[in-house]
């Protein structure tokens, strides 16, 4: 790791708040999307040469969003600068940059809001901290709104529930609108539009991969576990992050899903049209983008005639699926308009739509339809990393907090050794992996490593005290981020894996097929 130009934070004896280092991360920003990338997804290609035009467009968009999103409007008005959120962001803890304090991040936008949309800011800008939108300020937006993983940890501690993720999304939407997009996210959205998944994996390649998987599993277990694609009339459509198709350790979980379907004898399929669960529309903040990406799942479900839709191990995808699909694409219940009725008539109302793969598996376990050899996981001492989008923005099961219990229940059902990390770092106050929200790109590695710091500290504790050697998680971004970042903190990258990887290890397949 000698090639890094920055210091990796040192483990602290007590979790004291860092001393502020103004500007410490001002240099950090992602690559700007090219004109081609921007235009492919319907945004302006690049910034206008004339600043005044950019300025006016940005303010106009800001005004539009204020009228469309109550969250933004209330959040711009309600903050009292109490400071409760100041020390809650993993990027602040890891970087010491005061602009990574959630309230200061919001203030980059709020100062503009005051200046253009409030009396106080128009009349007494100095008094209330209102600022003109300048090119420099827009650049600061570009730096600091791309150092927020939209993890919502700060929102838990705010007396008004002010959610920086909403503010970040609005800022990024404005940036996209004026032609100042982020290459990584927007390129991926372009691929989804064109091919159906984040990796740009075409149908035939997908088929090859799945065939290879079947052979591997057969060799491994002697059982013909199927990984079907585009099967008309299957009971379940599984939508999973495309990283599951080829990346390690993600693929181990995909193998696990297949084994669960096999063991329970439930027919299922993947779709080449909607192979991807990830929805980066959440990261660029555009409702329209998010809707367009989500529509593929609707189309695939209607075309294949499935009864249930299950989502694989992906954090933000699960947020979008759980919380937004019903609204965006009609997967859910309770809609009484023609659009949603069409799909809701087809889906089986006895199951939550969509379901998370963990809900699906846990349901089968409770029914006694799956059997495990728990000892098969005895070489592992397991801890669980709650992914932020699952923990703070979605649910599983029929009761609040099911998203914490169900994955842990599964782990305990398939393995003997489980310990939790410190309570102030898990469940609804879990620390982000540091790579969520569209940050998972090489040029942001400094923010990613530093942002992972609080999670690494908590992990270090259980490694030391309990010999933990496996951190299970149910998010593709967490998995990718940790495999990259763990070595910088002295851990083996193989320490991270999926919950269904553990299921896969312990499940009894029987000989029937």
């Amino acid at each position: 790791m000698a090639d890094l130009e920055f210091q990796i934070p040192k483990y602290r004896e007590y979790p004291e708040v860092p001393v502020l280092q103004p500007g410490a991360m001002a240099h950090s920003h992602p690559h700007v999307a090219s004109e081609k990338i921007q235009e492919a997804i319907g945004f302006q290609g690049k910034l206008d040469d004339d600043w005044q035009i950019t300025h006016d467009k940005a303010i106009a968009k800001f005004g539009e969003l204020l009228g469309k999103y109550r969250s933004l409007k209330v959040f711009m008005d309600a903050c009292v600068h109490c400071g409760s959120c100041t020390d809650k962001c993993h990027y602040f803890i890891g970087t010491s940059d005061p602009k990574n304090m959630p309230v200061a991040r919001q203030e980059l936008m709020r100062s503009v809001y005051r200046r253009y949309f409030t009396f106080a800011g128009k009349l007494f800008p100095g008094l209330v901290g209102a600022k003109d939108l300048t090119r420099e300020l827009l650049d600061e937006w570009y730096s600091y709104f791309w150092q927020c993983s939209e993890c919502r940890r700060c929102s838990v501690f705010c007396p008004y529930g002010i959610d920086t993720a909403e503010v970040t999304m609005a800022a990024r939407h404005i940036l996209d609108t004026v032609g100042y997009g982020q290459k990584y996210s927007n390129e991926i959205i372009g691929k989804v539009y064109k091919i159906g998944n984040n990796l740009g994996l075409p149908g035939p390649a997908l088929e090859d991969t799945l065939q290879g998987l079947e052979e591997d599993v057969k060799e491994d277990t002697g059982v013909d576990v199927k990984y079907p694609l585009d099967v008309q009339g299957a009971e379940v459509l599984l939508v999973t992050p495309s990283a599951d198709f080829f990346a390690e350790p993600h693929i181990e979980s995909l193998i696990g899903y297949g084994k669960v379907f096999h063991a329970a004898g439930i027919s299922w399929t993947l779709s080449s049209h909607a192979s991807e669960a990830g929805n980066f529309g959440l990261f660029n903040g555009s409702y329209e983008t998010m809707r367009k990406v989500a529509m593929r799942i609707r189309e695939a479900a209607l075309e294949l005639g499935v009864k249930r839709i299950v989502v694989g191990e992906c954090g933000h995808a699960w947020r979008v699926a759980y919380a937004f699909w019903n609204t965006l694409n009609g997967v859910g219940a309770g809609g009484n308009d023609p659009f949603s009725i069409e799909l809701q008539k087809q889906l089986d109302p006895r199951y939550p739509q969509p379901s998370h793969i963990c809900e699906f598996t846990w349901d089968l376990i409770q029914q006694g339809r799956l059997k495990f050899d728990k000892e098969a996981n005895d070489h592992r001492v397991i801890t669980f990393h709650d992914s932020c989008n699952v923990a703070r923005a979605s649910r599983m099961g029929g009761y609040p907090g099911g998203q914490f219990e169900i994955p842990r229940n599964i782990i305990k059902a398939v393995a003997n050794k489980f310990v939790d990390m410190a309570p102030e770092t898990i469940r609804e106050v879990t620390y982000c992996c540091g790579g969520g929200g569209g940050i998972l790109t090489d040029e942001l590695i400094e923010a990613r490593i530093k942002g992972a710091f609080p999670r690494m500290e908590a992990l270090q504790q259980v490694v030391e005290r309990h010999g933990v050697n496996f951190m299970a998680t149910i998010c593709a971004i967490c998995k990718a981020q940790f495999t990259k970042v763990l070595p910088y903190y002295g851990f083996n990258m193989r320490l991270v894996g999926g919950v269904h990887q553990l299921v896969s290890t312990a499940i009894r397949l029987g000989n029937e097929h």
């Binding site: 109550r70 200061a104 209330v128 901290g129 838990v156 007396p159 609204t327 809609g335 609804e428």
Partner: protein, 240 residues
């Protein structure tokens, strides 16, 4: 002076009511296009009401966030609340028994209020990261509120004012029959600051008071799979 204060209070009251009503209308008419409660969130409307009540009365999230801010913030708000109730006596001609009963609590609550404010203000100087996020108007509000608290408590405990006359003045205001206001410097400062607070309320961060009830992360039930959640502007997209 009496006329000045009469006009001032009519004006302040009008601005407060109209401004606040407009803001609340503005919050209410702005759609919330997506379901975004911060989980674990209640799944029923009653659960949401209970969650909001805990936020408003106990400052639950702030309690989780920072004990010092919570302590000072809670002292200030609860003190203010008691003081405000106590002040009802200036607006009701026959003071009911319960209001008489809480008078002593209301009186001493002023100290709690000022102590809380002092604590919050101290943090703005002493804690580096709080200092960083403080704007001049944050200081100003603390000055105004502390000023109101000190002048108010001063009139109760140090240099008494003719409260009967003050009451007559406010009752008169309500009946459009202006009565003379006693001549007392602390009272003047007190009333000017209160009027200032009322006038600036709808244009300032004091909007957190109505805002908390409109915050989607706190006021939504967690039922997106059971209920479709379509905003009018989003429904338009479906038609195209």
């Amino acid at each position: 002076m009496t006329t000045f204060f009469a006009i001032l209070f009519y004006l302040a009251f009008a601005i407060l009511v109209v401004g606040l009503a407009y803001k609340i209308y503005d919050f209410a008419r702005t759609p919330a296009p997506l379901s975004i409660p911060t989980t674990p969130a209640p799944t029923t409307t009653a659960g949401v009401a209970f969650r909001l009540a805990r936020e408003v009365v106990l400052f639950e999230s702030l309690f989780k966030g920072n004990l010092w801010i919570w302590l000072f913030g809670w002292m200030f708000h609860m003190g203010l609340f008691l003081v405000l109730i106590r002040h009802l006596r200036y607006f009701i001609s026959d003071v009911p028994a319960w209001l008489v009963f809480i008078q002593p609590f209301g009186k001493y609550a002023a100290f709690m209020m000022v102590a809380g404010l002092a604590g919050l203000w101290a943090r703005r100087f002493l804690v580096e990261r709080i200092r960083y996020i403080t704007t001049p108007s944050d200081h100003l509000w603390l000055v105004v509120l502390i000023g109101i608290g000190i002048t108010g408590a001063g009139m109760t405990f140090v240099s008494h004012v003719d409260v009967v006359a003050v009451k007559a003045f406010f009752l008169g205001l309500m009946r459009f029959d202006i009565q003379p206001l006693p001549d007392h410097p602390a009272l003047y400062i007190h009333l000017i600051l209160v009027a200032l607070l009322m006038i600036l309320f709808p244009f300032s961060k004091l909007l957190h008071a109505p805002g908390v009830f409109f915050s989607p992360t706190r006021n939504q039930a967690d039922t997106p799979r059971e209920k479709r959640h379509l905003a009018p502007w989003a429904a338009q997209i479906e038609k195209s």
